[in-house]
Symmetry: C2
Subunit: 139 residues, 2 copies
Amino acid sequence: MSEEECVRRLNARFYAAMTALDIDEMDQIWMNTEESVCVHPGREAIIGYESIRESWAAIFSATDSMSIAASDERVSVAQNIAWVVCIETISMMLEEGLAAASAQATNIFQRDGDVWRMIVHHASPIPLRPLEEWPDTIN
Amino acid sequence: MSEEECVRRLNARFYAAMTALDIDEMDQIWMNTEESVCVHPGREAIIGYESIRESWAAIFSATDSMSIAASDERVSVAQNIAWVVCIETISMMLEEGLAAASAQATNIFQRDGDVWRMIVHHASPIPLRPLEEWPDTIN
């Protein structure tokens, strides 16, 4: 498998972990360092994996059901660093009904020996994409 | 000068170019490739330097006066790739008076021979920081 394909799959695995509300899988995906950075939409950066993990745990415990998929992925690989720029389409079932949002994401990955891990996730709000542009995995 | 210091200075130079509304300086700072990516706050990614340049030219021509400074910079360098996570504090003089905004940014740089250049700029809106937390260069 090419490095680009490894990174593309890890990026998809990150969104699958969010959809599964799976914090253990997040532990596998993320680089567990003080250097790790996570920007949730509309928020300041969270620094260090310990704090990032707490933020995911809080999101997962506050969420009954979430479906998130990446599309328009652009993958760049330069030696031990790679990054993916993609669109996130998020749908959540809340008590009030279905909520949906789109986000623009930049994800940076670092190769640690043979294993790629996420070191930066930056997601930011963008206008909601029309339903017909949602990824098939969400529709 | 260490690689980290080179990247830190280039990051500052990027914000100085925005403040100076200097498109020629942007041409020097950015990697001129189809792979270059720019995310303005609240917008989808712009792909390729040609389109990115047009977006800066449009912003600069619509702006009389802008002051933007980075703070809380965290610099990571891994061989030929580096990234800076930082807070942007933006103030603009408009007809209606002073407008201010904060943003969270992730900037990725690539070394091209001896020269570092920006290849990704991702800025996203965050709540406005209180005035006493603004960088000295803005106050």
